[in-house]
């Protein structure tokens, strides 16, 4: 059996978790149709039945739901012990999760506990005997073939490496409650308080017809004035790189890429974005890409349909000026 750790938000299983289930199904098909099960931990946004139904449409057989006081707050070790309990009771030969911070963390705990290797950010599998995966290293500019010869084989799937596709034949989606014991030591490092994130406003970004993108080239939080004006002139959404969110220049819900939103606008204007593979994972479905970059050799320029070479702080105001002029 292949066990997928699924993360949820208000919409149910998050997109990258559904991608991981799709990946697991492909792996199952190559391996003679072993079942795909899911494990979810703690309180769910809706009812467990709703989630089980959603996962059934993705071909999931059993949905193991770990509940109990131990899971009232997130903790890497406690979640890992929930996954470990399900793995022990089912004998899963593969355990996988989306390559989100939590997916990485929980599976790293799991592998440290059971003494097997973990492959992070897998994008495809090469062969089953020995089980060989390809994963992203060096920020995606290099790929690594890695052999996972222990059982369970444990890996995370890079965001947007595959598309989330419902199964042709739904699975049973049977709810299997689980209330594993969690050791005291595994409860020490847990979230003790959280300030809720700003409401998820990424919905507009995901469906926008035009997205104005900005990366490190924006220079600072204050460097977004012209970019925001361009966004408004084009009636567009703003999308940013991880550097921009990491540095706190813009909120996370605006991030595009492997660990952000996947967008598919008619036009993506990528300003001061190098076009790293993890960013590309989120914007490659844009119909037309216009890159604005000082570096004519930047990957984003090479991958774009159109490019303007130069400083965005000069070019974007000039575009805004031209737009205002033509609008009259």
């Amino acid at each position: 059996m292949i066990l997928v750790l699924v993360e949820t938000d208000a919409t149910g299983a998050i997109e990258v978790s559904r991608e991981t289930i799709t990946f697991a199904r492909d792996l199952s098909a190559a391996g003679g149709g072993v079942p795909v099960d899911a494990v979810v931990v703690g309180e769910l946004p809706g009812t467990a039945e709703e989630l089980a139904q959603q996962l059934a449409s993705y071909g999931v057989r059993d949905v193991h739901h770990a509940t109990g006081e131990a899971f009232s707050a997130y903790g890497g070790a406690s979640w890992a012990s929930a996954v470990q309990a399900v793995r022990d009771s089912t004998g899963a030969v593969v355990v996988t999760a989306a390559g989100t911070p939590r997916g990485m963390e929980v599976l790293a705990h799991l592998t440290a506990r059971i003494g097997v290797a973990m492959a992070a950010n897998v994008v495809s599998f090469e062969g089953l005997a020995p089980f060989t995966v390809t994963r992203q290293v060096v920020s995606g500019s290099v790929l690594e073939e890695m052999v996972l010869d222990e059982r369970p084989a444990v890996f995370t799937v890079a965001g947007h490496a595959v598309e989330a596709v419902p199964a042709q034949t739904p699975g049973a989606g049977r709810l299997v409650p689980s209330s594993p014991e969690v050791a005291e030591a595994d409860l020490i490092a847990r979230v003790v308080s959280s300030e809720p994130p700003q409401a998820d406003l990424s919905g507009g970004l995901k469906t926008a017809r035009v997205v104005v993108g900005a990366g490190r080239g924006a220079g600072s939080a204050e460097g977004f004035g012209d970019l925001l004006e361009l966004r408004d002139l084009l009636d567009a959404s703003l999308g940013v790189s991880r550097v921009v969110t990491s540095l706190g220049w813009r909120p996370h819900h605006e991030q595009v890429g492997q660990t952000g939103s996947r967008i598919s606008p008619d036009l993506y204007v990528a300003c001061g974005i190098s076009g790293a593979i993890q960013h590309w994972a989120g914007c490659s479905s844009a119909k037309t890409i216009l890159a604005i970059n000082t570096d004519a050799e930047a990957p984003m320029v090479a991958k774009a349909h159109y490019a303007v070479i130069g400083d965005l702080h000069e070019i974007v105001p000039a575009i805004n000026e031209e737009l205002r002029k033509r609008k009259g």
């Binding site: 959280s194 159109y306 609008k327």
Partner: protein
Amino acid sequence: MSLDVLVCVKRVVDSSGEVVLSDDEQAVDGRYAGFTVSNHEECAIELAVQTAAAVGGAASVVTLGDPAAVEQLRSALAVGCTAATHVEADPTVFGPADVAREIAAVVRDHEAAGRPHDLVLLGNDAADSGDFQVGIRLAYELGRPVINGAATIAVEDGAVVAGVSGPDGHETYRVPLPAVVTVLEGGVEPRYPTVPGRMKAKKVEIERRTPVSEPSGPKRRRLKLPPPQPSEVQILGEGPEAAPAVVDLFERLGVVSR
């Protein structure tokens, strides 16, 4: 309270330019590039130095790497670390479990010598191998709790309090020392070395060690480069003079009305 914060860094090829692989396809060839540590580790160094200053303790740095990795230790010493340990070994034959075991041995030996590291900081992920696990494996080796992906940390009342940006928003963890924390860039601005800092760093004697056990190795079969994508980009121009051509394009695509 006297706290000696240990920060773990890895010497990696600066991959911002063109990446070349070694002939045996086991590593990135650094002959034509510079070397660095990841942004996460730079932030970890900064947090180690700030934390040490806040509690009146010290910050130490460790790396497992080839002889040239001394450069990265000196850089950390130049920005405020006061002691450095070099586990001399070829890092490409060490897997994440091996590295964790070696760092744990350093922590134990220092503790036995009367220099406990009640707080160990690492990067969230290494810039080259990107295994996302050495910190967690280290925590299990040492039997300590671990906080992952911290942007900020503070030590108070024998505990480390960390801020993490996660799906629950701004999340706070509070864990008693001794503990392990992995750091994600963004919470602090790494400082630049000063000239006196550099001078001081040169004088520090680096503790040199050899690995305590045979590495079991990474499970790497080989590295490969993604196939180059043929570029079909059409350059609309250079600088602000390209603006009319850009707006013409917007009109052709129908995203602004003519």
